[in-house]
């Protein structure tokens, strides 16, 4: 079971630990006052990476190798300098770190990192240096990618296949799903079946413009992926050959976050909201939609969550499940964090007074 909960917030990284008694307790806060957009920890919680967005002073990456007791600023991924780029307003520059994942058990100390604008970087040396994945950056279909809720495109999901670390799927807003099977040397589009309601009718199934909000892969059944998409929930059961739309979510098909049960590919959690132009919990009630049968039906989980006049929105990285599938955590834009020890049946409020939450992770 996860022993640590990391909350990446607009005003710092809060670390909670599971003590001998039941429940989470606050252990430390790092980077207080600074926006933290993403966090990643090793299974033993000794090595931690934190992506910061300092606004005026740019994107930064910090690493701890002592469980968060001390931090070192590391080189931040950056785009290769283009000749004349200093005079070209359109030349690319990293504006945010949106995703970080370990590159596989057979690659100790190696990481993938996703950014806005949407690009993928690789480090083979525990974050000491980073290389832009040129093959993805130069993929011809990238010309069709476009920003979703942000001006920049964003690469927010990195699924490293547990069977073979060379197989990596990424998802982009708005750029659909792209897959490599050779460790990033070549890529191909893998979002067939996704549907973008915001496109003209004859282009709605174009896989290159899909606004996947988050994509996850089931560790125990890695042929199965789930996506919370801008206008719906989608599931893939055939190892990224095709996607099927799930239209049975009872509260809303709009949302940002999705988590899949690590041992049961048919179980997934979603946090619904009134759709795109408004983005608040339906009827002011914070709920979680959980399916346990692959999307045929959903439970609406609400015990312990505010059910009156709530405006908590959960961003795409604001929901996490641990390796057992029992412990969950959820953080909102209004600074609430809830946790569950029973798969989401019951939730406990950890705090209602935190800064807006960008991401939560359990390790």
């Amino acid at each position: 079971m996860a022993e640590r909960l990391y909350v990446a917030s607009r005003k710092g990284l809060l670390i909670y630990e599971r003590g001998a008694k039941a429940g989470w307790r606050h252990a430390s806060t790092a980077f207080i006052g600074s926006p933290v957009t993403m966090v990643l920890a090793s299974p033993d919680n000794r090595t931690i990476f934190a992506g910061l967005n300092l606004g005026h002073f740019g994107t930064k990456l910090h690493r701890s190798t002592d469980g968060g007791a001390s931090w070192t600023e590391m080189p931040v991924p950056s785009f290769p300098k283009i000749e004349g780029g200093d005079k070209d307003a359109k030349a690319p520059a990293v504006s945010a770190i949106w995703a970080m994942e370990w590159a596989g058990r057979d690659r100790p100390g190696a990481l993938w990192l996703g950014t806005a604008p949407a690009a993928l970087f690789y480090s083979a040396d525990n974050g000491a240096s980073w290389t832009l994945n040129e093959a993805l950056w130069n993929l011809p279909t990238r010309a069709k990618w476009m920003g979703g809720g942000t001006v920049d495109t964003a690469l927010h999901s990195i699924c490293v296949d547990p069977r073979k670390s060379e197989r990596v799927a990424v998802a982009v807003s708005c750029g659909g799903v792209t897959l490599t099977e050779d460790g990033g040397q070549s890529w191909r589009v893998a979002g067939h079946g996704l549907r973008a309601e915001f496109m003209p009718p004859d282009q709605q199934f174009d896989p290159d413009v899909q606004d996947a909000h988050l994509m996850v892969q089931c560790p125990a059944a890695p042929n199965v992926y789930w996506i919370q998409h801008h206008n719906g929930i989608f599931r893939c059961t055939d190892n990224l050959k095709s996607w099927q739309e799930i239209d049975t979510a009872p509260v809303s098909r709009f949302g940002f976050a999705v988590a899949v049960h690590p041992k049961d590919a048919s179980t997934a959690w979603f946090v619904p909201a009134v759709k795109d132009e408004q983005r608040y919990p339906a009827d002011g009630k914070v709920v979680v939609q959980r399916t346990r049968d692959g999307g045929k039906t959903f439970d609406v989980l609400r015990r312990g969550l505010p059910q009156d006049n709530a405006f908590d929105l959960v961003y795409r990285h604001g929901l996490a499940v641990d390796a057992t599938g029992e412990r969950l955590a959820m953080g909102s834009t209004t600074g609430s964090v809830w946790t569950s020890d029973n798969g989401g049946d019951d939730w406990s409020l950890l705090s209602a007074n935190l800064p807006p939450v960008n991401a939560v992770r359990l390790f």
């Binding site: 005026h56 740019g58 300098k81 780029g85 200093d86 520059a93």
Partner: protein, 80 residues
């Protein structure tokens, strides 16, 4: 020789006081400082060596927006 002073917001990565830097442009003077304070570069410039959007550079009291802006060879002071 330009005299370069950085905002106190950058104190953790920048010189603590005014430093002299050679160069005929803002970019060249900054590059001279970055040679001594390499971590500072990413706080002031982006991936393409452009001034970050909200970084304000003043050359003798004049707000400049480009790293290739010229520095006048007077006793110039940059305030970043």
């Amino acid at each position: 020789m330009a005299k370069v002073i950085f905002t106190s917001h950058l104190r953790s990565v920048a010189p603590g006081g005014a430093v002299d830097a050679s160069g005929g442009s803002v970019g060249e003077a900054l590059a001279a400082v970055f040679a001594e304070y390499p971590q500072l570069r990413g706080y002031v410039l982006d991936d393409q060596d452009r001034l970050r959007l909200h970084i304000a550079v003043f050359v003798d009291g004049v707000h400049v927006r480009k790293t290739h802006s010229n520095i006048r060879w007077a006793p110039a002071a940059n305030f970043i």
